[in-house]
């Protein structure tokens, strides 16, 4: 996979040079960035959420810090949303 990356990049660039960058492709790219970042945030929250629930189960005072820590990766999605507004 990794050793093929330059070749893959060349193919992509050639394909891109022949394409007309239209409104639709830009929107599709933005959609992709939001979707992927949401996936990444979800993956990050999986671990943090599990740990937070563990900490809350032991001591319910940890609820607020646990909640804040759990939603921190959500900033990833907000940054991706910026892309939507600037295209």
């Amino acid at each position: 996979m990794i050793e093929n990356t330059p070749a893959l990049a060349n193919v992509a660039l050639e394909a891109a040079s022949t394409w007309e960058a239209s409104e639709e492709t830009a929107l599709a790219a933005a959609a992709l960035s939001v979707g992927l970042s949401a996936l990444a945030a979800g993956y990050a929250e999986r671990g943090i959420g599990a740990a937070a629930v563990g900490a809350i189960a032991e001591d319910s005072d940890n609820f607020v810090p646990g909640l804040i820590m759990t939603v921190l990766p959500e900033t990833l999605v907000i940054f991706a949303l910026v892309v939507v507004f600037i295209i």
Partner: protein, 350 residues
């Protein structure tokens, strides 16, 4: 081996909270000055509240403390198994099997000395993988053959059966107990291989350290007791510190044994403090406590390298065991009237 997603994060978070709730070293200094009833009252205001209240009507004094400690230990370690899923369950369960080994040994010793089942029951720590019904069945049987029969289907059946011939010839329990210990340690490292990096490598490293220290301890006991026993029959495979022939030689030479540990690349630097204590220690007890402290420190170091891994669970298990042993030593020491400084020598304090 169990497959599937494991919830390491959840287990580590819970374990770390419980780790923080353990008694601090200052608490031990307070406890050393109390009598058994004072210790029980102190425990009632801490983690052990429920156990002390449940058992308080039936027992008193040191017995109350001891049973409360055992029950609390079993509760916490049972919790560990209940929370963990997938691979981390497998890794934790392997280690907690040492309580199964302890229980089976206790039952066998009880049968050997004709102790009534009720008394054996109070000495069991139900923290292992054997379920309660199996343990109860073990308590009901009268002969060692029946114990082996009840364990049919568990990992202990075959080694015990092999050892039982030797037991019948000699009438001594040592072959059975050795068979159990070996079975436990062999399963510990089973199908883990030798991973080079990552949390698994640290887990293996820790278990190797435990095996090494167990070997060192056995060697020292043999050396001090002067008993004419073959060191090779106590040797546990899997460690990196000794091989079988080295251990046999070092049994005759305790200073050489300590030098051997200090020269080791893996333990030498990290354990330098503990090793200097080992050199100063005259009594075997101090030596063993220094080893315990060293193992505990080692587990802590490993758990800070990979905070979210099975290492943190192991370090909690060790710390909890140390707490239980320390409180028991204080209570027993007060009961027989040892002085405060004598009791403090019995404690494993970092």
């Amino acid at each position: 081996m169990m497959r599937g997603a494991s919830n390491t994060e959840y287990v580590s978070a819970r374990v770390r909270t419980r780790r923080a709730a353990l008694f601090a070293d200052e608490d031990y200094r307070k406890l050393v000055r109390m009598g058994p009833s004072g210790i029980a009252r102190f425990m009632e205001e801490s983690e052990y509240e429920r156990e002390i209240n449940e058992l308080g009507t039936r027992f008193s004094g040191v017995d109350l403390i001891e049973y409360a400690l055992n029950r609390n230990l079993a509760k916490h370690f049972g919790d560990l198994l209940e929370w963990s899923e997938g691979r981390i369950y497998d890794l934790v369960a392997r280690y907690l099997r040492k309580f199964d080994v302890w229980n089976v040994k206790t039952v066998i010793r009880g049968i050997y000395t004709d102790t009534p089942p009720e008394e054996i029951r109070t000495d069991l720590i139900r923290a292992g993988e054997l379920d309660d019904s199996t343990v109860d069945l073990l308590l009901e049987v009268d002969t060692i053959e029946d114990v082996i029969e009840v364990l049919d289907g568990t990992v202990y059946h075959d080694p015990l059966e092999n050892a039982s011939e030797e037991y019948e010839e000699t009438g001594a329990l040592i072959p059975l107990e050795n068979a159990l210990d070996r079975e436990f340690y062999e399963h510990l490292l089973e199908d883990l291989g030798r991973p080079e990096e990552g949390p698994d490598a640290k887990y293996v490293e820790f278990l190797e350290a435990e095996i090494d220290f167990r070997n060192a301890r056995n060697a020292l006991r043999l050396a001090r007791s002067g008993a004419d026993l073959d060191p090779a029959s106590y040797y546990i495979e899997g460690g990196v510190l000794f091989d079988e022939s080295e251990l046999s030689q070092l049994v005759a030479d305790p200073d050489g044994l300590i030098d051997h540990i200090a020269d080791n690349r893996r333990y030498g630097d990290r354990l330098s403090g503990a090793i200097s204590r080992l050199r100063d220690a005259d009594s075997l007890i101090e030596f063993e406590h220094a080893l315990d402290a060293a193992l505990l420190q080692y587990a802590d170091t490993l758990s800070s390298i990979y905070p979210v891994s099975v290492s943190s669970v192991l370090s909690y298990i060790l710390a909890k065991e140390r707490e239980v042993e320390n409180i028991r030593a204080i209570a027993r020491g007060r009961e027989v009237g040892l002085s405060e400084s004598e009791i403090e020598e019995e404690l494993v304090i970092l």
